[in-house]
């Protein structure tokens, strides 16, 4: 592909398109924007394939490009607003895990609560639970220290527990 081989690009696209699209979609919560950004990512892959040095896996490299392109898109569609990189989930009054377990068995409620997470938290949840990636690789993709990835996941889990408990209280689960 680095030599401009179009058939290699086709094969690459078919191999990674689904994963990359789902990751972008999880960040943007918008199908049209996600399709646009996927196109930007693949175009960037085509242009910069020659600069890929193999220091990370191909999937880490392409998901890293996707992360940055998605952040750019968020910034463009919300001019003046900063992207929430490491939002605080301040209060520590999260419900007990055992109390929220029954709510977590309802797929629809889990999806609704995941959608309510910040972009940064959704990304980490997606990469850890959908892609099953180790925290070190997630840190490479989103460009932050490993400790930050762990903290984001911790806060995301608390936010999910709180959301699920809230839905349970409202009798929605």
């Amino acid at each position: 592909m680095a030599n401009g081989d179009q058939s290699a690009m086709d094969a690459f696209y078919r191999a990674y398109e689904g994963r990359v699209y789902r990751f972008i979609r999880s960040k943007l919560n918008d199908s049209f924007d996600a399709a646009d950004v996927l196109n930007e990512v693949m175009f960037e892959v085509w242009r910069s394939a020659g600069r890929f040095e193999g220091r990370s896996s191909v999937s880490t490299w392409v998901l890293g490009i996707a992360h940055h392109k998605a952040i750019d898109r968020i910034r463009r569609r919300k001019p003046g607003e900063s992207v929430e990189l490491d939002p605080e989930i301040a209060d520590d009054d999260s419900p007990n895990p055992a109390e929220t377990l029954s709510a977590a068995q309802d797929a629809e409620q889990v999806r609704r609560c995941v959608d309510q997470l910040s972009e940064a938290h959704r990304s980490v949840v997606h990469l850890a639970f959908f892609e099953d990636l180790p925290y070190g690789e997630i840190a490479d993709i989103v460009g932050c220290p490993e400790g930050t990835v762990k903290t984001r996941m911790f806060h995301a889990k608390k936010a999910l527990m709180k959301c699920l408990a809230g839905l349970k209280e409202m009798g929605l689960s």
């Binding site: 242009r47 925290y135 911790f154």
Partner: protein
Amino acid sequence: MMAQNGTRDEALDLLLPWYVNGTLSDDELERVEDYLARSTQARDEVELLRQLHRQVKEEPQENSPGELGLQRLKREIEQAERQDQGSGDKLAGRTVTVASFWRPLAVAACLAVVVQAGVMIGLPGGTGGDVEPAGGEVALVPPVLQVTFAPDATEREIREVLQSAGASIADGPSALGVYGLRLQQSADGAIEEALATLRARGDVVTFAERK
């Protein structure tokens, strides 16, 4: 902080999601398993995380753009190639393909040889003193311009254009034959002046933009 009799260990709590997705190192896995054996709360949390993991994994995914997306990408690549190669080729009505990738690479290799020869000629009797480029010291600054060269441009033409623009090749060629250029001076005015010089030689430089 170690967990004793069911108390929490914050450092190990942070690892629980990766215990659930099965990506911990052997050492981490051992410590987490030991923790789980001691802490009921940690076990409850793992149960919840497993449930969340399952739900996220099983969530129905909407269709990705698939082949339509690939067709769109191909159109945009073709368009970009035409733009990259376009302006200079208008003169001769040539069609440039990605296969021309090797030509700029060969030109770059020739340039490297020429520059090296220039340096060697400039050496005072080969005494082994410090080697400096004949044109003086070039600061190692990042490339600020990107260019493509006409497929039939000769090494001599490329050298002349680069010298008149005060530019040198810093990186490339990319998959599309794009080179990065650095300038001896990086002030805004100097960049614009170099761009104008490069663009004035449309027979040699087919595309020139800021990086």
